[in-house]
């Protein structure tokens, strides 16, 4: 069975593309899917450190594309999850080291071996973005509830629609439910209304993402963290399961409830 090539992109940097790619990779692998995460951010390699696999890189994506290494030599197996592998980006080259055609060929080869090929796109809408989108069957847009991120997401959605790919789906990352309740943060409904795009998942702001990234252990490896749970739900949705969206109504802390009391 041929795998699905899914690219995660955002336009704006710093919204959590790499974290989302790593965690979706982990979550899908935990659902017994064979997954490869591909770091397409050539020159600014990061997916390896977020996944905690940086010490095991021998060859990278550019080595494979230029024929210095075979695909199997460059792929890094995640020891925690036998189904999960990483194809790291080159750190000492730049975006122009790879062409769209080479990316398509590479991903077609990966498609034979994996159920999911997750491509972590660089920020921006230039060459690196186009290289990441070229092989994709599906595109996931990552956005945070901020004016700048939503605006850039809209621009990227327009570019993807123009490239005759199927309509992208949206992950809203770093949502802070308490702020939304106070009317101080864009809500899911607001973002969906302005972007007119299908929702794939909502990931709440979660400090454990930072501690997990410090250690190179994606939060989706365990069940306790809210963000990890959110990525597990997204993975199940990607596999076609009908998983209801979380409302985050119960996550307000005691301070929040106390402040509500004072408001009345």
């Amino acid at each position: 069975m041929a795998g699905r090539i899914i690219t995660l992109t955002s336009g704006k940097g710093g919204v959590g593309k790499t974290t989302a790619t790593a965690n979706l990779g982990v979550a899908l692998a935990r659902c017994a899917q064979r997954v490869v995460c591909v770091d397409a951010d050539i020159g600014l390699r990061n997916l390896d450190v977020v996944m905690g696999l940086e010490n095991r890189i021998v060859y990278d994506l550019v080595d494979v594309v230029e024929g210095r290494a075979r695909l199997r030599q460059a792929l890094i197996k995640d020891k925690r999850l036998p189904e999960l592998q990483l194809l790291p980006a080159a750190q000492t080259r730049d975006k122009s080291a790879v062409t769209e055609k080479q990316m398509i060929k590479l991903c077609e080869d990966l498609r034979k071996e994996f159920d999911f090929i997750l491509i972590d796109s660089p920020a921006g809408i230039e060459l690196g973005f186009r290289n990441s989108i070229a092989p994709a069957d599906e595109v996931i847009i990552v956005v945070t509830p901020e004016v700048s991120a939503v605006r850039d997401a809209d621009r990227v959605i327009g570019l993807i629609e123009a490239s005759e790919k199927p309509a992208p789906r949206l992950i809203i990352n770093r949502l802070r439910p308490a702020m939304v309740r106070r009317g101080e943060m864009l809500d899911t409904a607001d973002i969906l209304e302005v972007l007119a795009i299908e929702l794939l998942g909502i990931v709440p702001e979660d400090e454990t993402i930072i501690t997990a990234t410090n250690k190179g252990q994606p939060v989706a490896l365990e069940n306790r963290s809210p963000a990890g749970g959110a990525f597990m739900r997204i993975a199940r949705r990607l596999m076609g399961e009908d998983v209801p969206f979380q409302t985050f109504e119960d996550s307000s802390g005691w301070l929040e409830r106390l402040s509500h009391l004072f408001k009345r």
Binding site: V147, V150, R151, R182, E193, V194, S259, K263
Partner: protein
């Protein structure tokens, strides 16, 4: 801390999410159509000119903006009407009743 600001007598923060949404709707509508604020102002002046031929309007308070919704991009004109100018007999039935008229295009 909302309750602290209340205790200290500070005014409560406005609902900045609504502000964010409105700013986004305007900026996205402009991005999508690639239309400048300048063009929008020319459009507004010309609309005022055409409408003023038939209806007396409060020209200083005319607002023309763009917004984007799930249905697509909308041009919203908010035009306060003062009174009709010498309505033609056939047109009298269509006279604006509300003080504010909202037209969508």
């Amino acid at each position: 801390m909302n309750f602290l600001s209340r205790l200290l007598g500070r005014p409560p923060e406005g609902e900045s999410a609504q502000v964010a949404k409105q700013r986004l709707q305007l900026v996205l509508a402009q991005d999508r159509l690639n239309i400048s604020t300048e063009t929008l102002n020319v459009l507004k002046d010309e609309m005022i000119e055409v409408i003023s031929r038939h209806i007396e309007i409060d020209q200083a308070n005319v607002q023309v903006s763009m917004t984007s919704t799930t249905q697509g991009t909308c041009l919203i004109a908010n035009i306060p009407v003062i009174r009709a100018r010498s309505p033609a007999p056939a047109e009298s039935a269509k006279r604006a009743r509300a003080p504010r008229q909202r037209s969508r295009a």
